[in-house]
């Protein structure tokens, strides 16, 4: 699963720590998601999308 979290973070001037505290996750989790080493749950993905006020598909792209 590809994602554009890093891009959206830069647009919203958010650090990994800021985003982590907004979605109630650890900074390590945000790092792992950005590096595409960990696929977030649907709940966490929705929380991240809500922080950036965009739809889920705009941040996460599922490639088979």
């Amino acid at each position: 699963m590809k994602n554009k979290i890093k891009v959206f973070r830069a647009i919203h001037s958010l650090t990994q720590e800021n985003l982590a505290s907004k979605v109630k996750a650890s900074r390590q989790t945000i790092i792992a998601i950005e590096k595409e080493k960990y696929t977030p749950s649907l709940e966490l993905a929705f929380k991240i999308a809500r922080v950036f006020k965009v739809s889920l598909e705009e941040i996460f792209q599922y490639d088979e």
């Binding site: 720590e17 982590a20 505290s21 996750a25 650890s26 900074r27 977030p40 709940e43 966490l44």
Partner: protein
Amino acid sequence: MKLKTYKIIRLIILFFVSIATLISLNLINPIFMISSILLGKIILIYSKSKLSENITDERTVFISHQAASITYIVTTIVISLISLLFIFLSKMSTEKYFLETLGTILAYITCFIILTYSVLYKFFSKKFGD
């Protein structure tokens, strides 16, 4: 409290609890050991509650699930192999009954672990939809 401070506190507590456990083992004083472990745990829980950032979330839960499932597989295979080894060795050894008993106990422990896993698997699969 920052994560770095918490990690330092955790390290200090670990150090002191280890020393306290060693001293209490030397003095054969279980009360001192239990109270030092409890005190360390209370301080850890308190300092964790004062943390400004999350350190446990769904990724840590996922990691612990992965580790637990691999531990289950490795443990059951290793214990069952050791129990088989003991039972086979008992046929050739002079310490026949000791090895056979040990092998049988280990085999029962393996059965108990597998049974517990199966029961809990069934329970959680029912709970989450089956």
